[in-house]
């Protein structure tokens, strides 16, 4: 690098930095003075970009690595701070106030949290979510594991079967939910009318609607979990299984004493995935039943949100009923439940893995 070149770069860099600072400060000043000028947004952005590049071409050998580190880290970290960390901190703060989505008038302390536990419909959502998570975790893992066993046996056309079992996983929950709403309310109802003479849609009754959600979820998710189990099963060395067969182990014995213990890490991954995804599930719930379903008597009151899981309950509290602070405190509680359950799950599986 020639001397002149360095000089030119330095001038260029300092110029860019200077213009960048002027533009950014001017933009911010316009913001603060409350001017409605259209130019203030672009001004700020151009200023920031100039600052960025000015910093980049600054000719220093000593700090170059440090500058590059900052430049490389900044975009993602900035987005992460603004979209995750700041809203999280604000949200936890808001849950102790009477925030209405726009401004905070009073700090109410634990009032929102106290209200949560005296609301039967929310307690019901917690109960039904836990029930859903447990049933779903067992069903998805069982079905997926059996499918994986089927798909690892040497059969013709297994590539096709594998791909078609996986296919539902590619489609978003909203679209899936409506497709299955159609199936349950039109196709299945036709069948039940013919077989048992019952004209009611499965989705109109809380119990059967709950089963409906599980059917859809297993249909969507089992193919994906199956793929992970297949990968796990393929890591079990062939000679171990052969040796077992020579020693006279039956296929069942091979399965329970060799294959399952050897894929323990895979089981951990799969239970974790099904657990967290079932907890957070929202789209299918919204599109399939929208949380409807009557419960005659729960904690002394009549409920109409029989199939409303936690995520949907939070959404409707905040967005539909417009109770932002209350919804936010439910969300914080949801976060705590999710964190505790995930930690317990990981702990338990790790212990099991060691024992196996």
């Amino acid at each position: 690098m020639g001397n002149e070149n360095v000089g030119a770069r330095r001038i260029c860099s300092i110029l860019m930095l200077a213009i960048g600072i002027v533009l950014a400060v001017r933009g911010l000043m316009l913001d603060l003075s409350g001017s409605g000028s259209e130019a203030r947004g672009p001004m700020l952005i151009i200023g920031m970009v100039l600052l960025y590049f000015g910093l980049y071409i600054l000719p220093t050998m000593r700090y170059h690595r440090a500058i590059i580190n900052i430049i490389f880290l900044f975009p993602l970290l900035f987005a992460f701070l603004v979209t995750v960390i700041i809203p999280l901190v604000l949200g936890i703060g808001y849950s102790f106030t009477d925030w209405d989505g726009i401004r905070v008038r009073n700090v109410v302390g634990f009032e929102n949290y106290a209200k949560i536990f005296s609301q039967p419909s929310f307690i019901w959502s917690i109960v039904i979510t836990f029930l859903f998570v447990v049933v779903n975790m067992i069903m998805v893992n069982l079905v997926a594991f059996l499918l994986a066993l089927l798909c690892t046996s040497k059969l013709k056309g297994m590539g096709f079967f594998r791909a078609s079992y996986f296919l539902p996983n590619l489609i978003g929950g909203i679209v899936l939910g409506y497709i299955w709403q159609f199936i349950f309310s039109n196709v299945v109802t036709k069948m039940t009318t013919a077989l048992f003479d019952s004209r009611y849609s499965m989705l109109s009754e809380t119990k059967t609607a709950f089963i409906g959600i599980i059917i859809v979820y297993v249909w969507q998710y089992a193919g994906y979990i199956m793929l992970i189990y297949i990968t796990g099963l393929n890591t079990v060395p062939g000679d171990v299984i052969e040796a077992a067969a020579i020693d006279g182990a039956s296929p069942m014995q091979t399965l329970f004493n060799i294959k399952i213990p050897m894929i323990a890490p895979t089981i951990t991954i799969c239970t974790f995935l099904t657990l967290t995804s079932a907890f957070k599930q929202f789209d299918v719930n919204l599109a399939l039943t929208n949380g409807t379903g009557s419960v005659a008597d729960f904690m002394g009151s009549y409920l109409t949100n029989g199939t409303e899981m936690l995520a949907l309950n939070i959404y409707s509290t905040a967005v539909i009923e417009n109770k932002y602070a209350f919804g936010e405190s439910k969300a914080v509680l949801f976060f705590i439940i999710l964190a505790v359950v995930s930690i317990i799950q990981v702990r338990v599986s790790n212990k099991k893995e060691v024992e196996l």
């Binding site: 880290l73 975009p75 987005a79 979209t83 960390i85 936890i92 489609i171 036709k190 919804g327």
Partner: protein
């Protein structure tokens, strides 16, 4: 005796596999045949093929595409733009950040890395309400609308996808020998050149993985775009459009299923083209994630 048993078990397994495949694919079949029918035919016979015709399919699709709540091309275009831009930015910025975090063993990089990992457990519900109000206020303050705008939602995806992207990329970069970078630096590469010319090309397989994982998520995501873009805004994605359309047409099943068909077809085509990559990407993401 032994071989005979084997063939019979093979046949049984094949039959089971076929039955399950029919069950799994049956909903797709129902979507296709029922979007080829007029409304009345669906309520009388949702499974049969009678009354289904290509003319009716074209008519249904036309009705859906030109519907003011759905606006298929509009929603499709925005879905593509939002997904592609978010994926490119996530791949580039994610790789840059992961490389810095991985190659600097300082206190700060460790703190940032563990914050990323810990944040993966945060459910979207906790942050969504303050996020919307922060974006609304910030947008007003700086004079660039962040709600109901493409840059705003891309920025949000960058923030929410960042943690997993960095986590997976970090695991891969750890496996690249550091000597490679030292050699490049001795040959006169500045750090940014080392990254873009030496490291970034090596990341292709793992970037494919994160792109598939993020792509599936962003393309199908409903809650974030519905909160940030609104149901009836000008900018909307396909899942939001489907929801807005169904909300406005209760029980017109032929049109609803035609809308579903339009939403499914692009993904199925993509899956048929890149089946192996998509399936491997999903597996690797899960195993490493």
């Amino acid at each position: 005796m032994h071989t005979k048993e084997k063939t019979s078990s093979v046949v049984i397994k094949l039959v089971i596999a076929i039955v399950i495949a029919i069950y799994v694919l049956f909903p797709f079949f129902l979507v296709v045949i029922n979007s080829m029918k007029p409304t009345e035919a669906i309520t009388s016979n949702p499974i049969g093929l009678n009354d289904a015709s290509f003319g009716q399919l074209i008519q249904n699709l036309n009705d859906v595409i030109n519907n003011t709540h759905f606006m298929f091309w509009h929603a499709f275009g925005y879905s593509v733009i939002i997904t592609v831009v978010s994926l490119v930015l996530l791949a580039v910025f994610g790789a840059m950040a992961a490389w810095v975090i991985c190659r600097n063993k300082t206190k700060w990089s460790t703190v940032i890395y563990f914050t990323f990992i810990a944040s993966m457990i945060i459910p979207f519900q906790v942050v969504m309400l303050p996020l919307i109000s922060t974006f609304r206020d910030t947008g007003k303050f700086i004079g660039i609308p962040l709600l109901q705008s493409v840059p705003g939602i891309v920025f949000a995806y960058l923030g929410f996808g960042g943690a997993m992207t960095v986590f997976i990329l970090n695991g891969f970069i750890k496996g690249i020998p550091y000597e490679l970078e030292e050699a490049a630096s001795i040959d006169g590469c500045r750090p940014e050149q080392t990254f873009f010319r030496v490291i970034f090309p090596l990341l292709t397989p793992v970037i494919t993985t994160v792109t598939i994982l993020n792509g599936m998520w962003i393309w199908n995501d409903y809650l974030l775009p519905s909160m940030m873009l609104g149901q009836n805004g000008l900018v909307k994605t396909l899942p939001v459009a489907v929801q807005a359309f169904v909300g406005s047409y209760v029980k017109q099943w032929n049109l609803i299923l035609a809308a579903a068909l339009l939403a499914i077809v692009p993904i199925v085509i993509l899956f048929l083209i890149a089946q192996k990559q998509i399936m491997n990407g999903m597996i690797e993401g899960a195993v490493k994630g």
